[in-house]
């Protein structure tokens, strides 16, 4: 044991702390800064050492004392030795960076473990840091020998295999035995660590004895074990019938039951538990054949009572009376990073990530589509969080950041009073459907803009495009511009020109297959209109009209209502007097004409939004025909709007627009999840209000939250369940609510419920910065998600919600303690704690919730 000298200006305070197993290698880093105080600071170090188990090695691996060497700024050094406690306080260290190395020594003074940490000492402050001691790396040797009565084994053969318990790679290593008369020996070298060893002795073809054990290899050490085969032959067919780690027996440690996988061939039992599970004291529950008992280290185990330390593998011996029937190695692997939890009420669970601090998320899903629940809470009990703990928690949000895009809000948009008498040259737009052949360029019409036909706008036809072949037959497009919006005579802030109309027409309907919004959207959802059984609906028509007007008459140049579709126009005026008796949707003219600079370009910000809105409103038009008319169901608003928002998403790359995903398009379409600081599209607002009900539609300014939620949910569905094909099936379903999604999923995932989808969606939100997730939990694969429908290929880009910011909040909103969400029906709410080392979480989860743990 090397002796270190004391530095006279150091005061050592030793404090016993809890021992925590750790296998981390490398230097940790701790930092705390301040401009206050003297030019010195303190450091308190906590030592965490690897398990002191010593199995079959000639070196005692128990650490009973520590030595410390610290190198600071300007050549400062501190050395300590013979530290016998588990922490040490170093006072009055020079301000700056200190590299501290801790060595652990066994009772014989042999160095058996080491760890290091980098600490930033700041003025007048005390810094706390953990030092993880791990066994020294290197090779060690092993020797195994087995003896038996050669008179009882006529045709002996022996086999053995090793597998690492320390590394993720647990592939088996064959052990070669040398056979002698009643003796088999084997030896070799291995890297330091724990190994499982399984040895079988056979007489001819019959296995007569097996042994499972754990071998520890330490650097420069020799490990040896001898086994004597005696008594009656083993009954190798006897095995545990079941092995379980249940939360009922381990209420403070486990969230759920974890069933062990029993492998009779290798005589191993594997139990998978969440990352962070404390393995040092678990109570297993097991089943054996009648008369067969399990023993560990000679102690009979009682199912549901006996406690074991599963930090490394545990050998369970099977006995019938005095007869040893064989051994099973039980390994508990803390490896689950996503876990659905079905525990309710008040309970606490502790997690430990001492070897590698983690971010811990809890997602609270209210899967009910019709009932709110009491609000759950998660409290922070005893614990410790790394000094680099994230502070990106929810903060007060400025309402001034509300996105300025919506398809239309309020119900008074048409109350603007216009003159009741118009010049005689304006016929009303009624019967447009039946007289379309008469429409010519520069024709003038009056369009009714309210339900009762009280108010009208005069408009001029500025585009006539007829006889365009599509998959749905020949179609005709007419684009109208209200007079006050037409250049140069209009009085709006920005006026529509022929160039703009031409661009709009080219985006919506041009000759050729699969090359315009009409083709792309109808390939997903079907035709926009056709025959029906309703005599008061307009007859079948191939004419589609777009009216460009200053919606609301607000002359707004930076937001407001972009466009809308209103089914009143699909009726004959004899039923709804305000009908325009045509397939028409409306776009805001001022925003369409608003350029980024002095020259108008189709890919300018507002024109681009308006082109995307064409696809959005066209979906609504189709939706009315396919659902209301053909299937006699009126879709709920959230479902209808979700389809429109996803439609924008599905055609965004074809139009070279960012769409609701909001990742900028610069020259080429970016299918990646983008980069931090994204502010456009629907997702910044979703990040802020991600605990909203999916199937409740809000009003007023809050309607934007509903748009955001609908897009986030639809984008998730699109990227995980078939893209355009799924949305075709949603439209094809006979339902107009969440059951339409279940029906659409029935083919590919027949057992998936809407509740399951909500839970998976919550996982996808948390995991969106990962491109490698389990099925049905992905927003982000680093590229596009492809689908095909109606002969058209669709590609939607990845989404990384961590890249979207709303005011000062980046990434998905979450709470850090206390109540989580609002308990709203069909919603998820999020809790997150960053850089957790150890923590006891105190839950109060009302019945009905599904809670999901995600460890990152």
């Amino acid at each position: 044991m090397s002796k270190k000298s004391f530095a006279t200006n150091i005061h050592m305070i030793l404090t016993l702390t809890v021992l925590v197993l750790s296998l981390v290698v490398g230097c940790d880093h701790a930092e705390l800064s301040s401009d206050l105080g003297p030019y010195r600071g303190d450091v308190r170090l906590f030592f965490f050492r690897a398990s002191s188990r010593t199995i079959d090695t000639d070196i005692d691996m128990r650490i009973v004392s520590y030595g410390l060497e610290a190198i600071g700024p300007n050549g400062s050094e501190v050395s300590l030795s013979d530290i016998t406690e588990e922490s040490v306080l170093l006072n009055n260290l020079d301000v700056g960076t200190w590299q501290i190395t801790i060595d652990g020594y066994n009772p014989e003074g042999i160095r058996v473990g080491s760890g290091c940490v980098t600490v930033q000492v700041s003025r007048g402050l005390s810094v706390q840091a953990d030092v993880h001691l791990v066994p020294l790396e290197g090779e060690g040797s092993y020797a195994l020998d087995i003896t038996w009565d050669s008179s009882e084994v006529g045709d002996p053969s022996i086999s053995g295999r090793l597998f690492s318990l320390s590394d993720e790679d647990s592939s088996e290593i064959a052990v070669s035995f040398h056979l002698h008369d009643g003796l088999a020996t084997a030896s070799g070298t291995l890297d330091s660590g724990y190994y499982g060893v399984i040895i079988s002795l056979s007489d001819g073809d019959a296995i007569i004895w097996t042994k499972t054990d754990i071998l520890r290899i330490v650097a420069d050490g020799d490990s040896a074990a001898s086994y004597a085969v005696s008594g009656s032959h083993a009954d190798s067919d006897v095995h545990p019938l079941g092995f379980l780690l249940g939360f009922a027996d381990n209420p403070d440690t486990l969230f759920t039951d974890s069933v062990g996988e029993i492998d009779q061939e290798s005589r191993r039992i594997r139990v998978s538990v969440p990352v962070g599970t404390i393995l040092s004291a678990l109570v297993p529950r097991f089943i054996t054949e009648d008369g067969v008992d399990l023993y560990v280290d000679g102690v009979r185990q009682i199912s549901g009572e006996s406690v074991q330390d599963f930090s490394t593998g545990v050998i369970y011996g099977l006995y019938r009376g005095e007869t040893h029937l064989g051994d099973y190695l039980v390994e508990v692997h803390p490896e689950q990073t996503v876990l659905e939890i079905d525990r309710h009420g008040a309970f606490s669970v502790s997690l430990d990530f001492s070897d590698d601090p983690k971010d811990v998320w809890y997602i609270l899903t209210n899967p009910s589509t019709n009932s709110n629940l009491s609000v759950p809470s998660i409290g922070l009990g005893a614990g410790y969080v790394s000094t680099d703990r994230s502070l990106s928690v929810a903060k007060a949000v400025s309402r001034t950041m509300l996105p300025d895009i919506r398809q239309k809000s309020g119900v008074d948009e048409f109350n603007r009073q216009l003159p009741s008498a118009f010049p005689a040259r304006y016929p009303t737009s009624r019967h447009l459907a039946s007289v379309s052949e008469e429409i010519r360029f520069d024709d003038a019409r009056l369009f009714s803009i309210d339900y009762h036909g009280t108010n009208h706008v005069p408009a001029i036809c500025k585009k006539v495009r007829t006889g365009i072949d599509t998959l749905n037959g020949t179609k005709n497009l007419y684009i109208w511009v209200e007079e006050r919006s037409w250049s140069p005579s209009g009085d709006r802030a920005f006026l529509v020109t022929q160039q703009m109309v031409d661009v709009l027409a080219d985006k919506f309907l041009v000759p050729g297959p699969a090359n315009d919004i009409y083709d792309w959207v109808t390939a997903i959802y079907g035709e926009e209109w056709g025959a029906s059984e309703w005599p008061n609906l307009i007859p079948d028509t191939d004419d589609i009209h777009i009216l460009l007007k200053d919606i609301d008459g607000d002359d707004s140049t930076d937001g407001g209502v972009l466009g809308y579709y209103w089914a009143k126009d699909n009726y004959l005026a004899s039923s709804i007097s305000g009908s325009n008796e045509s397939l028409v949707f409306y776009l805001d003219s001022v925003l369409l004409a608003n350029p980024d600079g002095t020259e108008w370009e189709a890919d300018d910000y507002w024109p681009g939004k308006q082109i995307s809105t064409l696809a959005h409103e066209f979906q609504h038009m189709i939706h009315f025909y396919q659902k209301n008319v053909l299937r006699d169901v009126s879709s709920e608003v959230w479902l209808n709007e979700m389809c429109s928002l996803v439609t924008e998403d599905l055609v965004a790359d074809k139009l070279m627009l960012s769409g609701p995903r909001g990742v900028p398009v610069a020259g080429t379409f970016d299918y990646s999840g983008g980069t931090p600081g994204l502010l456009e599209g629907r997702l910044p607002l979703f990040n802020r209000y991600n605990d909203q009900s999916v199937n409740v539609w809000l009003s007023g300014d809050e309607v934007l939250r509903s748009y955001a939620t609908a897009y986030a949910f639809g984008a998730y569905l699109c990227r995980n369940h078939g893209g355009a094909t799924l949305f075709n099936a949603i439209m094809d379903a006979q339902e107009g609510d969440h059951r339409a999604i279940e029906a659409a999923l029935a083919t590919s995932c027949p057992d998936l419920t809407f509740a399951d989808v909500l839970v998976d969606w919550g996982k996808a939100v948390v995991l969106s910065d990962s491109t490698d997730t389990e099925p049905y939990t992905s927003y982000n694969n680093g590229s596009w998600f492809a689908s095909s429908q109606g002969g058209v290929e669709y590609h939607v880009g990845s989404i990384n919600l961590e890249n979207y910011s709303y005011a000062s909040q980046a990434g998905p909103h979450h709470t850090i303690s206390g109540t989580v969400g609002r308990g709203l029906k069909a919603s998820n709410a999020y809790f997150k704690e960053s850089s957790v080392v150890r923590r006891t979480y105190e839950f109060s989860i009302p019945d009905g919730y599904v809670m999901t743990l995600v460890v990152r």
Partner: protein
């Protein structure tokens, strides 16, 4: 409050005693009482922005009634939840997307509390028109 109680009592008695054939273009899940209609169903918002409709949807025959009147603002908060509304038909159904509209006079929220159109709680005498009798009337 007394006035509301009397009015409600009258409505309940009508509900219980004067069942008339349903009105509307299709079979009604509810039962028409004189010009009053009592409907049990789920509140949902249908259509697309900005032309949405708050409707009460009966699952029995998948029929909708658009809700109108002062109570609409209050009932919007109960989307996806089961309520009972009592009101009068003010416009007949036209066709797809435009069902009959019902001016709501009274409604019962999921917590089984009755309200007038303004949202004020109405006390229902247990011996005359209890919830149980109303539900019996509805065939529950």
């Amino acid at each position: 409050m007394i006035g509301y109680r009397r009015t409600l009592l009258a409505i309940m008695l009508l509900c219980l005693l004067c069942v008339l054939p349903a009105a509307g273009r299709r079979e009604q899940p509810s039962k028409a009482i004189s010009d009053l209609l009592l409907i049990r169903g789920t509140i949902v918002l249908t259509g697309n922005e900005p032309h949405t409709s708050l409707v009460i949807r009966s699952e029995k025959v998948r029929d909708d009634h658009v809700l109108v009147g002062e109570a609409v603002a209050l009932l919007t908060a109960y989307q996806q939840e089961a309520v009972i509304v009592v009101g009068t038909i003010v416009t007949a159904a036209i066709g797809p997307g435009f069902p009959a509209s019902l001016d709501v006079h009274f409604f019962r929220t999921p917590d089984r509390v009755w309200h007038d159109a303004g949202g004020r709680v109405i006390l229902v005498p247990q011996d005359v028109a209890s919830d149980a009798k109303i539900l019996e009337f509805l065939g529950e």
